[in-house]
Amino acid sequence: EPEVTQTPSHQVTQMGQEVILRCVPISNHLYFYWYRQILGQKVEFLVSFYNNEISEKSEIFDDQFSVERPDGSNFTLKIRSTKLEDSAMYFCASRRQGSYEQYFGPGTRLTVT
């Protein structure tokens, strides 16, 4: 069964550094999402992406964040200058056209020190 994959599984970075989190959505899916989950809290929406542009973004998704689909398979989330409060699990999700079902990847644990 096709799955969303994410790399790396764990990223440790120093405050102020840039990080790029990578996702490979399910191949026939056209809608892509990033969510984050601070330890012990609920999953929060960050951004949705369709047809090479952002469809919707949350208040969390400020100018420090950006997303890109650099090729036909990858979907990335970049944080330009990480803060301590960016430490969280980041989940990528994808969805095919005409379906409500979003499928989540296993997540990247980001630790900012």
Partner: protein
């Protein structure tokens, strides 16, 4: 109005019991209500989902009950097993293109 309120925060049930997790919403524009199961260190996995035009949906041992007038929905797990121990999130979205809004989660523990 964009929130989904979930209770209880944690739940302990004996094997074979029927845990029930409840959720409530305000936004009547929500038209899709999924439940996700999450094991430690893993991503949320879609368990079962319902649209507001039906009052109940069953998939295996999992049942969603939906009360549109009360703006509430719940998850029942029949014949619960220790392997069902996980965190369960209810959620909602407006249209298929929209973000999913998650409840706060219920940590379920099934005792052998």
């Amino acid at each position: 109005q964009q929130q989904v309120k979930q209770s209880p925060q944690s739940l302990i049930v004996q094997k074979g019991g029927i845990p029930i997790i409840n959720c409530a919403y305000e936004n009547t524009a929500f038209d899709y209500f999924p439940w996700y199961q999450q094991f430690p260190g893993k991503g949320p996995a879609l368990l079962i989902a319902i649209r507001p035009d039906v009052s109940e949906k069953k998939e295996g041992r999992f049942t969603i009950s939906f009360n549109k007038s009360a703006k509430q929905f719940s998850l029942h797990i029949m014949d619960s097993q220790p392997g069902d121990s996980a965190t369960y999130f209810c959620a909602a979205s407006v249209s298929s293109a929209s973000k999913i809004i998650f409840g706060s989660g219920t940590r379920l523990s099934i005792r052998p």
